[in-house]
Symmetry: C2
Subunit: 160 residues, 2 copies
């Protein structure tokens, strides 16, 4: 029986990490993951449309009951933070419109959920998601691995 299906995202203008995970009686399953790369020659608005339309398609295709994203880092430069926030706005709007429950997790919370340790490095997180889930690509952009880690955190959070 499926108890939860989550669309997890690592938002960005250049690259959008995407993962769809399901929690079943048999454990966690990775249904899909990818990294959407937008065209740098297009305007930010055009790229926002590509991102939004991709999300709409994913929401229709996988009918997740929840959407999970990482909280925004405030220590990044403000311009980047503003850009990411605009992408997040589109994500939150479309998720809410689709009736999904929304989860947000901080970077440390994600590390603890995936590795049991809040100060793991990137490689430690990647190694762990490969151990915990079948079908994680051997090589991928960080954004895709980050999305999978967010998805695992949502599943772990749900379990509690």
């Amino acid at each position: 029986m499926i108890s939860m299906r989550v669309l997890a995202l690592d938002p960005g203008y250049d690259r959008l990490g995407v993962a769809v995970l399901e929690k079943t009686d048999a454990g966690e399953v990775l249904l899909y993951s990818t990294c959407v790369i937008t065209n740098r020659l297009e305007t930010l608005h055009e790229r926002l449309l590509v991102i939004g339309d991709t999300l709409s398609t994913l929401l229709t295709q996988y009918t997740p009951d929840s959407v999970a994203v990482e909280t925004i880092f405030f220590n990044k430069n403000v311009k980047t933070a503003i850009g990411v926030a605009q992408v997040r706005g589109v994500i939150l709007y479309l998720a809410q419109k689709a009736g999904c429950v929304l989860y947000e997790f901080g970077p440390q919370e994600i590390k603890v959920a995936v590795t049991g340790y809040g100060k793991s490095d990137k490689q430690g997180v990647v190694d762990m998601i490969k151990r915990l889930l079948k079908g994680v690509p051997e090589k991928a952009y960080d954004d895709e691995y980050d999305a999978i880690a967010v998805g695992l955190t949502a599943v772990a959070h749900y379990r509690k």
Copy 2:
């Protein structure tokens, strides 16, 4: 003849200023203006949905050819800027989806376009939009006046 119709917005979570202006052979006309106030008791996500759905309705109802917003102030506190950026993301996405041309103007550009002077105060801008347009409400939230000023700037910009 109508040469331009713009949906102008002053984005925010609490209050969203809205104005629809049209440029015709006879001059500029204010078709509609309001201030959408979201419910502070709702989650940010719920309020984002209200804002997005309001925009969708306005885009369908008024079929503007362009959408105009003010650029983000970076000197505001970061948390506010992030919130406004999320709302802007939804605006830009829906505007692009509707095939609208997007305009962004800085605060000084708006003051110059409306009053001819880059250091006008808020009251100076309000007085001027009341002189330039019929139907500007006598009393309204700043957000509504700001949206009308953004709309006037878009119309003036188009004229050039």
